[in-house]
């Protein structure tokens, strides 16, 4: 048992670090450091292209498709350093989700048509899964695609669709048959967002961010050629896709970066003659979350690099999501609490106040915005039920 990385791995880590330090634009780093999870399209694409020049924009892809051909350790270290350095998250829907599905289930033609735009960063995607009455219970989805000629005609809507307002395409699940079990009769389609009949309505989160949308389909025509896999066989692809997120669900690197900011803030915030760091009650909380984060970090490493490697990880991954989101929320809430009265400043208060690089109104936004993390991508309740059934046999 040895928790040190190999010399080669450490050399790779140093390379990644150097690259980020030399190439991450300040404006982007600053935005990520303010805990903004979804960046403006321009920033996402700019960073993606910077990574692309190095061959690192889609590292998990097969090497001949533009991937980096890394080991598990390298993937782990890359994502960790990206996160620790406040570099943007990878473009989620195209790079991380759609592309592997195309590679696994798509035709040669589909791969040739869609992968280059994802790799270059010129085409952004969004994911059409959730519906107003199908959130956690995804298989209940009802948005219908009816075959007509060489196309499907889609009617209905998708909701809580992240980035639909900046995406060029949507991949998603649609109901092509209602007769059997609800998991049957679901088809996986790719849709050009410019197709007539699509309208996108912003859904504002309560703290005032526009990340998600409701997408309405009014007789939207999608050619058969845009279907991945067979008709009514979309559920298997969705399950494959949802199982992809092995790395990073714990968001340890991001939390370490946020925690570092919190600790700097505590040292910088004057309280009377001293600073907030002199308050043992507050610092107990910081210590508590730092320990929790370390426990999660090692747990993730054990799952990834333990006997059997990352392939051995099944429903255990659910616990990384549960604890990862709880800890993120905890850190960002403590940061907001630390600010006291200053944390009450609203979005339009003019950003005149900055303490240790933290803008109070951004800290408030982050605290509120991250409440979503225990809800999205399978709520933490769903994750617990998964563990209860798959791991504990209850």
């Amino acid at each position: 048992m040895d928790m040190k990385f190999s010399v080669e791995a450490e050399a790779f880590r140093a390379e990644v670090c150097d690259f980020i330090n030399d190439n991450l634009p300040d404006d982007i780093r600053h935005k990520v450091a303010q805990e903004e999870m979804i960046l403006p399209r321009e920033m996402m694409v700019r960073w993606h292209k910077i990574l692309g020049k190095k061959g690192w924009s889609c590292p998990s892809w097969p090497k001949d498709q533009g991937g980096a051909g890394w080991s598990d350790e390298q993937h782990y270290l890359f994502e960790r350093e990206i996160a620790l350095s406040d570099a943007p998250r990878p473009i989620p829907y195209g790079v991380v989700m759609l592309a592997p599905c195309l590679l696994e289930f798509g035709t040669q033609a589909q791969q040739e048509k869609f992968l280059p735009g994802i790799l270059s960063g010129d085409e952004l995607w969004c994911q059409g899964f959730s519906e107003p009455n199908a959130g956690s219970d995804l298989a209940s989805l009802q948005c219908r695609a009816v075959a007509e000629g060489d196309s499907y005609i889609i009617n209905g809507s998708k909701t809580w669709t992240s980035e639909a307002h900046i995406a060029d395409g949507m991949f998603g699940l649609f109901r092509t048959d209602s007769s059997g079990r609800k998991q049957q009769g679901i088809t996986f389609l790719m849709i050009d967002m410019k197709t007539p009949g699509i309208s996108v309505t912003p859904l504002m989160t309560f703290e005032g961010t526009h990340e998600v949308n409701q997408v309405f389909f009014d007789n939207v025509r999608v050619p058969f050629a845009n279907r991945i896999g067979e008709e009514n066989q979309g559920w298997a692809i969705a399950k494959y896709l949802l199982g992809l997120e092995r790395f990073g669900t714990a968001e340890v690197g991001r939390s370490l970066a946020s925690l570092g900011r919190l600790k700097k803030l505590a040292a910088a915030l004057s309280v009377g003659e001293g600073c907030l760091r002199d308050d043992p009650d507050f610092m107990n909380e910081v210590a508590r979350v730092e320990i929790a984060l370390r426990a999660l970090e090692v747990t993730e490493q054990r799952f990834l690099f333990g006997p059997g490697g990352s392939d051995a990880m099944g429903a255990e991954a659910s616990m990384l999501k549960i604890r990862g989101t709880e800890i993120q929320q905890d850190i960002l809430e403590l940061t907001h609490q630390a600010l006291g009265y200053a944390g009450q400043r609203g979005q339009d208060s003019g950003s005149v106040l900055q303490i240790a690089g933290i803008t109070p109104e951004k800290a408030a936004m982050a605290h509120y915005n991250f409440r979503k993390t225990s809800i999205y991508a399978g709520s933490n309740e769903i994750q617990k039920t998964i563990i209860a059934k798959a791991v504990l046999g209850l």
Binding site: T159, L276, G340, R371, K372
Partner: protein
Amino acid sequence: MDFTFTEEQQLFRNSTRRFLEEQYAFEKRAGVLEQAHGFLESHWQNFAELGWLAMPFAEEYDGLGGSPVETMILMEEMGRNLLTSPYLATVVLGGGIVAEAGSEQQKSALLPQVGSGELKLALAFAEQGGGYDLTQIRLRAIKNDSGYLLDGTKTTVFYSVVADKIIVAARTAGQAGEREGVSLFLIDRDAAGLQSRDYRTQDGGSASDLDFKAVQVPEEALLGREGQGFLPLQRVIAKAAVALCAEAVGVMWAISEQSGDFLRTREQFGQKLGSFQALQHRLVDVYMKCQLGQSLVYDVVCALGQQAGEPFGPELLRKVCAAKYQVGLDARSVGQEGIQFHGAMGMMTELPIGHYYKRITAINSTFGDPRFHLRRYRELMIQDQETVA
């Protein structure tokens, strides 16, 4: 021992609730918040007519002589309906400190105007870098021939942007951290040398940071006696903290009820969400927190009533800390559970739940957060034990 409201109190609750439900239904809230300061100026006169603005003041100042129970009722209803207004700033803080510290003449001049709705007040006490400690006052008031010259800054002055006059806690002697040497001044909002940076707050309200650059005020601006401002300030902030606890309890009950409605009606996996036992037990936890918070507010409100006029003893201050700690902590967790119960819907701005949570967060960072009040409670508890021993 009696936990029933008087008939008048019951009527007051009913009229308050009816008005708020009609005029401040959640669907209208976004529109109201779009107003300049998040508040319908035209409603202030309604508040006066409903008796809200004169409620806590003595009858000799045209007040209604209401007890802390009436304030509790009002704040709880405001919490339930998420009213955003200068009520706390003007009546509880501004009027409150005039009533506590003002001379007979000042009270006679100001309180009737507050009660009638003609005069809005704000209280400037917090300073950047002072945390929640009321003794951390650095803004200086130096006596000169014309009165006093004020220099320094104040932060997060609630609704000073709509106030006619501002009461400022300043230091005429001593150092930050000391109780002695704090004085209160009543100044016009447009006094020369006073600069205001106004902003909206996370919960939809308004606040300002004030910059005093050689602001000259006459001697009559002194509210009460020079150097004796700390005790009235402490009393008013304690009362206002209790008022916020009552508001938080109103918020908690609303979240509990709305979450119950959601779980009873929303389906997932072919069942009502409310049939899932894990959620059932968590809603029970929420319900219990509402009841326990209500109890701590009753406890301190009754003690406030019994100690009217007397200096606040450590026993009462402990009850304030107990309520502000426990209600704050529980309201936070109730708010988080409320969002979680609602799933993705809970994150949407169209639902009240997120806005309740923002209000809870603001309440918790006003007059001391739960950690601050647990520490103060602990200190008072140990002092008490040492005194007895």
